[in-house]
């Protein structure tokens, strides 16, 4: 058994070297395919993250009238939290509101001066409410308005980012569809390439193959080198694709991370933590492509 594995692998390497040009082109095409599939995947991931980031920004702010008791506000909070559509409620006290307002306008001398002149805090306390789903905000508002707490509220602010989200979703969908088509084209090209590479390998070893059959080599022994050869292609191309992807991920990371400032997403961190999953995924994809198409070729051209 071990002897067979060693010998068939040896033959596989011989095939690889003897048709080095074809081997190189095959690996190039497989690598390109893997790279494109990963790129489409990454763009999808980033677009998904962008949508999530915007969705996170959507909320309802309930501003309470000046002088409302904190206890009443907390009761209102408990009520809102009890609504099934609500996922998260945050209480922002007047002091906190002032603090963050001051902090965000720290570079604006006019506002700083105006704030310094006031002796009392002009900002209201508020509840910031987030729903489970984007389409549940209207329902939350309606329910709140029919509750006893509505009278405590001076102003409601529903920051609707629906238009942005719709645009992003549209974009994502187009990226996805376009990417899918391009991926399919490349998958097709690599299957055809692989199929023909094995066909050429079979053709250029026809003498050996004929002799192997005559002297009583088993079907397995005859076929194995071609399968191993295609596994070799899969391995090399996924290592290459992964290297290219690493370079791109790390060089693009500063820009992508800058875009997601304030959100829980970092491209390089994501890449590092998921490195082996991505690598394995790439290897599996190329393995299926390479071995699958070489099996087709073997079935067609290697009569045993």
């Amino acid at each position: 058994m071990l002897v067979t594995i060693i010998r068939t692998s040896h033959f596989a390497f011989q095939h690889f070297w003897r048709n080095l040009w074809i081997s190189a082109i095959t690996i190039f095409i497989l690598t390109l395919t893997l790279f494109i599939v990963s790129l489409v995947g990454s763009l999808n991931l980033l677009a998904g993250q962008a949508i999530k980031a915007v969705e996170d920004k959507v909320d309802i702010d309930l501003y309470f009238k000046q002088g409302t008791d904190e206890a009443d506000i907390l009761k209102a909070k408990v009520y809102v939290e009890s609504l099934p559509e609500v996922s998260k409620v945050r209480y922002i006290s007047r002091d906190e509101a002032l603090e963050s307002f001051t902090a965000t306008h720290t570079d604006d001398p006019d506002i700083q001066a105006a704030l310094a002149e006031l002796d009392s805090n002009p900002l209201p306390a508020s509840l910031s409410v987030q729903a489970n789903e984007l389409n549940q905000y209207q329902a939350i508002i309606t329910q709140f308005e029919s509750s006893e707490y509505d009278t405590l509220v001076e102003d409601k602010n529903f920051s609707d980012h629906q238009a942005v989200i719709d645009r992003l979703s549209g974009l994502t969908k187009r990226i996805y569809q376009g990417g899918l088509i391009i991926s399919f084209i490349f998958v097709f090209i690599s299957v055809v390439m692989m199929y023909n590479t094995i066909r050429v390998a079979i053709y250029s070893h026809r003498e050996e193959l004929g002799i192997m059959k005559l002297v009583g080599a088993t079907d397995w022994f005859i076929r194995a080198p071609f399968i191993i050869e295609s596994v070799l292609y899969a391995l090399l191309s996924s290592i290459l694709a992964m290297s290219i992807l690493s370079v791109i991920a790390f060089s693009a990371a500063p820009y992508v991370n800058a875009f997601f400032t304030g959100y829980d997403f970092s491209l390089d961190l994501f890449f590092v933590t998921n490195f082996w999953i991505i690598a394995l995924g790439q290897f599996l994809i190329s393995l299926i492509l390479a071995v699958g198409s070489s099996m087709l070729s073997i079935g067609r051209y290697l009569k045993v």
Partner: protein
């Protein structure tokens, strides 16, 4: 050792290569199959190694009915039947030693056994001195001896030689036939397909003449008379 029982072989284009042909070759025999080109001799040889299958009838090799042999069993059969052809089918980029070794390697034989068998075979075919030569550095007769050596690595019960002297001059051809006789005396059944009248006449062994897929004569110690 080899038995054809009422074998008819019709190729897909309706060519008849054997017609209700029966032939029994006993263990240890040396049988020459003669006949003009296109009469079905190679087809018989191919049926012995299950490269072709009879359309009707049965083929039995070493007591094993291979008429409907399973594809997975074909390698087992081929290790019991050595074959050589007019074109030697040697690998040009391998030496004599490597060409013979190849047949063992691809059958998964251990290196230790290969190292023992190949020199023995080289001795039988008389090519110990030429072990590191490439086929193009050898005469036709020597190349055919390499092919015979390769056919012997599995110690086959049967050696099947289809026109082994077809591309050799008389001296080389004689050498090859003498080698086949020697192998026969070592206990291997030999089935020789040939055109060469001189050789057959000198052999004084059994001769089976075929014409148009039919046996027209079968003589012990026969002559080539068509």
């Amino acid at each position: 050792m080899i038995e054809f029982k009422k074998v008819t072989k019709i190729y897909s284009d309706q060519t008849y290569a054997a017609r209700d042909l029966s032939l029994l070759i006993r263990p240890g025999e040396f049988v020459s199959i003669v006949g003009q080109s296109g009469t079905g001799k190679t087809t018989l040889a191919k049926m012995v190694i299950a490269e072709e299958h009879p359309t009707r009838g049965q083929v039995v090799v070493g007591g094993w009915d291979i008429t409907n042999i399973k594809p997975a069993d074909v390698p087992v059969l081929r290790r019991q039947v050595g074959v050589v052809f007019q074109d030697f089918k040697l690998l040009p980029k391998k030496t004599v030693y490597e060409n013979i070794k190849f047949a063992l390697e691809v059958c998964g034989v251990e290196q230790r056994k290969i190292d023992a068998i190949v020199p023995q075979v080289l001795k039988v075919v008389g090519l110990e001195e030429k072990r590191d030569k490439f086929p193009h550095q050898l005469s036709g007769g020597q190349q055919q001896r390499v092919a015979i050596g390769r056919a012997l690595v599995h110690r086959p019960k049967v050696l099947l030689a289809d026109e082994p002297t077809g591309s050799l001059d008389t001296i080389n051809a004689t050498e090859i036939i003498e080698l086949l006789l020697k192998i026969n005396t070592l206990g291997t059944t030999v089935m020789l397909v040939t055109h060469n009248k001189e050789i057959v006449d000198r052999l004084r062994r059994r001769v089976v003449a075929i014409d148009d897929g039919v046996i027209i004569s079968d003589q012990q110690s026969g002559k080539y008379n068509l």
